[in-house]
Symmetry: C2
């Protein structure tokens, strides 16, 4: 049911970054559920992680280790290793140690990532048994297979890639992501991996990733539920024949930032397009706020309202529900007589009431589309924020009622 | 699909408070959709109203007039008269003026209430035409018919009644409520009317109503959407042969407060039991918080999570989703190792991880019931809060996708 999400685009290999996929049979036999990624020696690595207080064991470990010299990222699906306490931490550490042993690197150079059911013990032996095959499979042109290997309730793999030329040298930024439910990322998405062959100093790489996720992964919501396992990683292998980028300035930095933002945005929006049960891709834009936070409060009140989401599913321009959500968003001293609301290009509410020019037919025409824009003009200031979300369909309830059966 | 909600209990008449019902044919011909309530001269009246910034025209008018001498409450269903701007205010005032004219009272003594679709013009003529029949129908034993007359997507009428004896005199508290969707009352519920024949000074009556709603109507949520039309009214007719209650002290005050709290709680819970598509009645209790607000933040994060609500619908003890919601509730410096979670009497999580004694069978046995308790022990302090909510079912999506068709 993905909305406007086609087959994977061309995912350019990133020199110095290899991917290997294997089957551990964690949830279903034969399913690709273990992905190993190898970063060339000297790579810098940045990561952003869930702010959920119940963050999973692998998140705790990856956060700790990302500051050091990272060589391998080890991902499994089918089990989140979250809510598993101390045994969960030991299990995550064991799988990393085994990979380190096989690869001949320090244990601390391996970062673990898990996604799947919360609260069940990680099947360590199954994952360990799959590691040799994953290592044997490592190659730079394995992005598309890896994008499938990290899927859970996703219906389609998600990837994005950009290249730019600087001083006659081609630089690549390629990424993959997964996620379709429990999506309201807070510092990161469910799982995202982006690599570039640019050479970037680590503190700057972390800043770049933080800025990119704040405008992409941190602006999407499907169900308002922030996951325990959200992680987004950015690897810079430095294999390109260009100088290291050490500061947020200059043309090379600007081009890399642009490519990274585009890849992040495409990956984040792909998650929404593949949202559980999604039949609509909805852009909620809030303009004219006094602060960015109040724009976000209004945007999320709209994006999380089950009444608006079911109306979107029904293609029903029930704009009263949008006004009601704006009104309950908690914006202090909100003067509704300054508010205009647009559905696509159609003005549905003007100065807080039904727009005199509005007809139900105009609203219905916009709602009939698969991609819908809701624009709210608060008339209080100069701040804007944009959030992407989905509708709430019968299929959403079915998927989540039957998730563990 | 209401959960544990039977036929109306006996609703004792309240001397000095009469109800009359008529059909205006607002949404469907023949449906009872206009209710007039008459308060005896000398009654005191208190009201609590939605905090939604887009509050409806009748709410604006009723808030303004409740401080004066109130004689009539005029309610229509089928049209919320919200998001209707200045014309909506004039329309509400016109219906009140017509009732005042027919009844021979000041226009300011009539308070309007509307519920139904947002954003459509109020059919003033239809309502005016129904007023003579409603007035002719006024009687003290019309509570049950009025409970039906204020319904919209409700499947069952909702009422509660208590009597107590003081100094050999019987005092009555009776109320009705409506609401099934767009329910996260903020100072009030969709619509609630409670009357007593006690004599209570107005400021004290307002305090009593505020305290009662804060523990009942303001602790229920179905979909997290605060309505534009929430109102709860409390009328004290003073017809009983007992002294006026002027202060929050003494046995009579204590008995009245107890009866009012019981009626409010029963009415509020009835709204949840009849929640749109509800198949479960869920009590979320959060104990051990450092503040009441953090207990509410955790409780609402759980009560609003579509992932938890769909798991409840599926009777699936997917407790990892509960941990995830607690973890994202925004409680500062939350130490998950102090947290225990119970499903009914079954400890599912102990010290932040799966309880060693927990088995899936125990969880499934609790989830199979129609009434489910989720108890979260934060281990941070002495504050507690309780919230009532429902599951999220296929029927919820169906009702709200088809609401206007």
């Amino acid at each position: 049911m993905a909305v406007g999400l086609g087959p994977l685009p061309t995912l350019h290999p990133v020199p110095g970054f290899e991917l290997g996929i294997a089957s551990a049979g964690i949830k279903r036999p034969g399913r690709k559920d273990v992905v190993v990624m190898r970063c060339a020696e000297g790579s810098t690595v940045a990561g952003v992680f869930t702010l959920n207080a119940f963050c999973a064991a692998p998140v705790i470990l990856a956060k700790r280790r990302v500051q050091g010299a990272v060589r391998y990222l080890l991902t499994n699906t089918g089990n989140a290793n979250a809510g598993t306490g101390e045994p969960g931490l030991l299990a995550a550490a064991r799988t990393c140690a085994r990979l380190a042993e096989l690869a001949g690197v320090d244990e601390g150079a391996v970062l673990p990532f898990s996604t799947g059911v919360i609260g069940e013990p990680l099947p360590v032996e199954k994952i360990e048994a799959a590691l040799p095959a994953a290592l044997a499979d490592l190659k730079v042109d394995n992005w598309a297979v890896a994008a499938e290997g990290i899927m859970t309730t996703d219906t389609l793999p998600k990837g994005a890639s950009r290249q730019f030329v600087h001083d006659g040298v081609t630089v690549t930024v390629t990424g993959i992501s997964k996620g379709a439910g429990m999506i309201r990322p807070n510092m990161a998405t469910m799982l995202g991996y982006i690599a570039t062959d640019a050479k970037v100093a680590q503190p700057l790489l972390q800043d770049l990733l933080r800025d990119a996720t704040n405008k992409s992964f941190n602006r999407i919501t499907i169900d308002g539920d922030t996951s325990t396992n959200d992680c987004c990683m950015l690897v810079a292998t430095g294999q390109v024949a260009l100088p290291e980028i050490r500061a947020a300035e200059g043309e090379l930095f600007a081009k890399l930032k642009q490519a990274l933002f585009e890849v992040s945005m495409e990956l984040a929006q792909a998650i929404v397009r593949d949202g559980e049960g999604a039949t609509k891709f909805v852009t909620v834009q809030v303009n004219g706020g006094a602060t960015h936070q109040e724009c976000l409060d209004v945007g999320y009140a709209v994006a999380h309202s089950p009444l608006i989401k079911t109306a979107l599913f029904a293609s029903d321009p029930n704009w009263g529900r949008i006004l009601a959500a704006v009104g309950r968003a908690g914006v202090p001293q909100l003067d509704v007589s300054l508010i205009d609301v647009f559905l696509g290009d159609v003005c549905i509410a003007r100065q807080g009431g039904r727009a005199p020019t509005y007809t139900e037919e105009q609203g219905a025409a916009v709602m009939a589309k698969a991609e819908i824009g809701i624009r709210i003009e608060l008339g209080r200031g100069d701040c804007s924020e944009t959030i992407w979300t989905t509708d709430l369909s019968h299929e959403y309830v079915k998927i989540n009622a039957e998730y563990r059966t």
